[in-house]
């Protein structure tokens, strides 16, 4: 039971607000001896596990730190190349921390515009006339709820698959947006929302929804 994150997308597909509420990503640390039984590869300028799931380390996890030194893209903070470090026998035993990569702001912007087009295609491929775009998207790990307003703004919430009362929260977010972003004279339309009151009220609404959702189940 949890609400993971909130995205607000403007009518052109731009991300204008994003908030991570409860999105702790799993991390695993393990000490390895030579040779490494995992296969690592470079993907998207990160070092990810390509093959060899074990002890909670999954394909797709990135290297977050080696011997306590955190990573920066393909390199460690001290400038060493991760793949080279892992390939050298004298570095072993080695302790490597793996986890799902955290989304960068750029990736979030990309995902928001990606959803914007998926929404439109979902509407175009409809077998019934006058369909909306994607409203609920279900996966085994989360559920995505989307509410598009008359003016084309999309409120997207990622929750646990079992979270209840998300519809109410979507309406509430629109209300918060109308009250605290649109009525703010310093807010220009379709631009990223940087309003303190909006932030506070949105967080309060999310926490409230999480609690009542729990109580209902």
């Amino acid at each position: 039971m949890a609400i993971f994150s909130i995205y607000v997308i403007n009518k052109a597909g731009g991300l204008i607000y994003q908030h991570d509420h409860n999105a702790a990503r799993p991390e695993v640390e393990k000490t390895f001896s030579y040779p490494l039984e995992l296969q690592l590869k470079v993907f998207d300028d990160k070092i990810v596990v390509a093959f060899g799931e074990r002890d909670g380390i999954k394909v797709g996890h990135t290297v977050l730190a080696i011997n306590g030194i955190s990573s920066e893209g393909r390199y460690l903070k001290d400038g060493r190349d991760i793949l080279e470090t892992v390939a050298m026998e004298e570095n072993y035993p080695i302790s490597i921390k793996f986890g799902r990569p955290k989304l960068t702001t750029n990736e979030k912007i990309m995902l928001a515009s990606m959803f914007h087009s998926l929404f439109a295609i979902g509407c175009q491929l409809s077998p019934e006339p006058q369909s909306s775009g994607i409203e609920i998207l279900e996966t085994d790990t989360f559920k995505l709820h989307c509410h598009q307003t008359m003016t084309g703004i999309k409120f997207v919430i990622l929750t646990d698959p079992k979270q209840a009362a998300v519809d109410g929260l979507l309406k509430k977010l629109y209300e918060v947006y109308a009250d605290f972003a649109l009525k703010n004279p310093f807010y220009s339309l379709d631009m990223p929302i940087r309003c303190e009151l909006f932030d506070e009220n949105l967080k309060a609404a999310v926490e409230q929804a999480e609690k009542t959702g729990q109580a209902n189940v």
Partner: protein, 145 residues
């Protein structure tokens, strides 16, 4: 409760089979274009989910709903993608799609030496069996219109 249409894609994005029952709106583009658009959408949804998910995904994408229809998705480990559009009242039909794979696709396509894998399915037997199966589903009741 009704079934609109069914798509079967291979792992390269070729549409192996398409069939429709109670579809009321055509997208206004050729079938080929529609298949490409559908496959592109599914492919992007999968990648979208893989990136945005806060936890590690196993099955990944299951279904999505709009205001009018629900799209169900099932992918086999070999990359075959089964897609079925139904109306909103239909629940989880993962087992139905799995059944289509195991007792219709495998039986009448994989076990048929005359079919070329990766080519659109032309087998009349497959067509009849699938049609029979889907018409027999408890939620298959054509809308009177």
């Amino acid at each position: 409760m009704t079934v609109y249409d069914f798509y079967l894609f291979d792992r390269n994005g070729n549409c192996l089979y398409y069939s429709e029952w109670n579809r009321r709106k055509q997208p206004g583009i050729s079938k080929e274009e529609e298949f490409k658009l559908m496959y592109g959408m599914i492919f992007s949804i999968k990648s979208f989910i893989n990136r945005i998910s806060p936890k590690d995904v196993h099955d990944g994408f299951l279904n999505f709903k709009t205001s009018k229809y629900k799209l169900h998705f099932y992918e086999t480990p070999s990359g075959l993608k089964f897609i079925m559009n139904t109306d909103l009242t239909v629940g989880n039909i993962r087992d139905v799609l799995q059944q289509i794979f195991s007792s219709i696709y495998v039986e009448y396509v994989v076990k048929n030496p005359l079919t070329e894998l990766g080519e659109p399915i032309t087998s009349e037997l497959f067509r009849t069996k699938l049609d029979e199966y889907i018409r027999g589903l408890p939620f298959f009741t054509p809308k009177s219109s």
